[in-house]
Amino acid sequence: MADLEEHFNHTIEKDRRVEPRDWMPDGYRATMVRQIAQHAHSEIIGMQPEGEWITRAPSLRRKAILLAKVQDEAGHGLYLYSAAETLGADRAELTAMLIEGRQKYSSIFNYPTLGYADVGVIGWLVDGAAICNQVPLCRSSYGPYARAMIRICKEESFHQRQGYELLMTMMRGTEAQRAMVQDAVNRWWWPSLMMFGPPDDASPNTARSMAWKIKRHTNDELRQRFVDMTVPQAEALGVTLPDPDLRWNPERGQHDFGAIDWSELKRVISGDGPCNARRLAVRRAAHENGAWVREAATAHARKTAHAHETAHAHETAPASEGAGRGVVA
């Protein structure tokens, strides 16, 4: 046991990756499963706010782009569920935990998309914040998670750029369109800052996650980086970020910004956001309405396996059913 732990610590210390069948402390495994599952759930629930606009996007080009983006979010969820399974998590159980509200997802997706400009602002700010969070996770100590993040980050770049381009197009439009963009920015700015999680002095698990190299930067560091990145983008776009205290601080070489309403984050996380109930209801309905498809595919697989077995009775019988574990991921 001491040997195993020493070997694990050595792997982390040398900045090597922990792989699925390595010994790892129970706390590391549990933290990793929780983080990857929450991340996967966020991608899956994250399809909804923008998915609602696919039929209403103003042109075939915009519909095709939005469809591809929402499909990517589904893909990201699946990469991550696949990574969680390498730690022994069960896919069906993860889905159950989400739709029964036993596991959380990012609070940002509990806000409504009231207008089409919201689609652009989500791409720019929400995906921008996600990229800020996720780029360092490409070096996370757990191999399958880090590899999934590399794939995800490559695809997120398209998400952010399509959003910003959409907003630039609207800003070149009518006064009413510019007002729509500014209104969406006003509503999404503060929730985007909350995406980085509670401030460092109220984030008790950060120290341990940093020691295990699951996280590479603290919440406040990443939030600051996001603010500094976004200010010039807002200027180029011609919108105002809704914070009277936001200004460059030449001494720090960073922007100062106003106090975040942490009680709002707490409220939304604990279930009392504008859309929590609706998001879970939609996910639950999708799961339940898809049951017949899953059953039909299973029945078809059984039938064809049986036909195959009868036709080749003298050959080796097909393998027994049952889900294997992702031993090689």
Partner: protein, 93 residues
């Protein structure tokens, strides 16, 4: 409903390269596993060929580098070209 089995997915990104493991997915059977793999792992022309293999059909060694499984090759430095000292002025070696 019994859960669909897990498949590991390997993608050949272009001709001339090996298939590389990219992740896993659940599917009812081999045929749907390939279709799911196409939709999930090659949305941007990432592949020209896909293998999908039932995870429980894979025999896997421990990835742990210190594992004694790999010990037999540890002391055989003479298998590497750098083991042999050849004077610098000997060409094409």
């Amino acid at each position: 409903m019994s859960e669909w089995p897990l498949y590991e997915v390997f993608v050949r990104s272009k001709r001339g390269l090996n298939h590389v493991h990219v992740g896993s997915l659940h599917a009812a059977d081999d045929e749907t596993a390939l279709r799911h793999a196409r939709d999930l792992y090659t949305r941007r022309n990432e592949g020209v060929s896909i293998w999908a293999v039932r995870s429980d059909h894979i025999a896997a060694a421990s990835p742990d580098e210190k594992d004694p499984f790999f010990a037999p090759s540890g002391d055989k430095v003479y298998r590497h070209p750098t083991f042999y000292a050849i004077p610098d002025d000997v060409p094409h070696m």
